[in-house]
Amino acid sequence: MKKSYRPILLLLFAAFEILIISCAPEACLEETESLVKASLYDNTTKRLRSPDSLTLYGLNHETVKLYDRSRGVQPVLFPLDLSSDNCTFVIKIDSVIDTITFRYTSKPRLVSKECGYTFYFNLTDTPFYTRNAIDRIYTANRKITTYNEENLRIFY
């Protein structure tokens, strides 16, 4: 075969290889759930501190707990109710019970062809909360996305 054809053949085979690779099906590997990420801080030292025991569940969903007397939780992840514009959680920090209510708007977003769609949220208010164990909640970022970004700081 003439030498002058070799670059053309190489180009064609390279393109054909790219075609075959691009046709291969892929799996869903991205994060698909938008969660409120809340870091827990010691109110005295103002430093990150995980409680000795943390329990979390949705109001009226006490049979299915998100955390059940868990140790070393940091950050706490709150999944928001997709069918509503608000939801309330019961949080038990070292056996002291509080409630936190979120109000938000939501909008759909494509994650990827493989994973499908999810929702991003925007907190419309500072969360409403009781002050038994919790002293203060600071909103660091109102946009609730699939990215690993801190949204709230809970001082207790």
């Binding site: 393109a15 969903h61 069918s83 990827s112």
Partner: protein, 252 residues
Amino acid sequence: MRRTCVFFISLLLFFHSVSARAQDTIEFPLKIRIGMDVAGPAISYYNRDRLSLEGVLSLDRNEKMAYVLEGGYLKFNYSQYNYDYRTEGVFMRAGVNFNLLKPETSTGKYWAGVGLRYGLSLFSTEVPFFRKENYWGTYNSSLPGRTSAGHFIEVSPGVRTELFKNLSIGWSVRLRLLISGGGGRDLRPIHFPGFGNSGKITNAGINYYIVWEIPFKTKKVIRIPETEEEEEEETPVEGLPGNEVPQNAFPY
């Protein structure tokens, strides 16, 4: 497997029929080409969720370059466990083809080279159903239909060979780079006409064309003779070790 066979058959046809001719000037026919893609309808025959029709019009500028205009229509439905997706629309690609073959090899009958394109697509998308599950339960929703415009650029290496007089076949691989798929950051299309899977910024596809050619002008092209590489023959050199003939080799 079928695509692979088509690829090698057209490649064999191409290289089998090519032969160099020794002359100083050659008559190179410039042509208008009208073609249609047969890969799209063939895939549509097996995949009822996809209807793809595509045509091409090209005009030779000279023996090395041709202007190309492609257009087509795509209707595509996609479903998986957590959503359904529909898109329908038209697209066009405009650009040039460069022939990497020498004129005396190409003779207007054979083409092997690369194309560059800008693509524009106008389409509507709809997500009739999607499902999301989390702690609070399962939530079903949908996204209403809307119209978008997508832009992309394309590099398309390929080959083409004359099968009968003024009738050619050829294929090209399409390597695409997305500029914009429309829909903003949140709801970019999953798939759109002319580009394909827009979930990724790059994509690849293949076209297999049947092309009708209309010669409209003949151009005289000066052939630059190629300096042939001289093959060195291994001839024995007298006086070198190993080539010496022993004195008693022929005793009689």
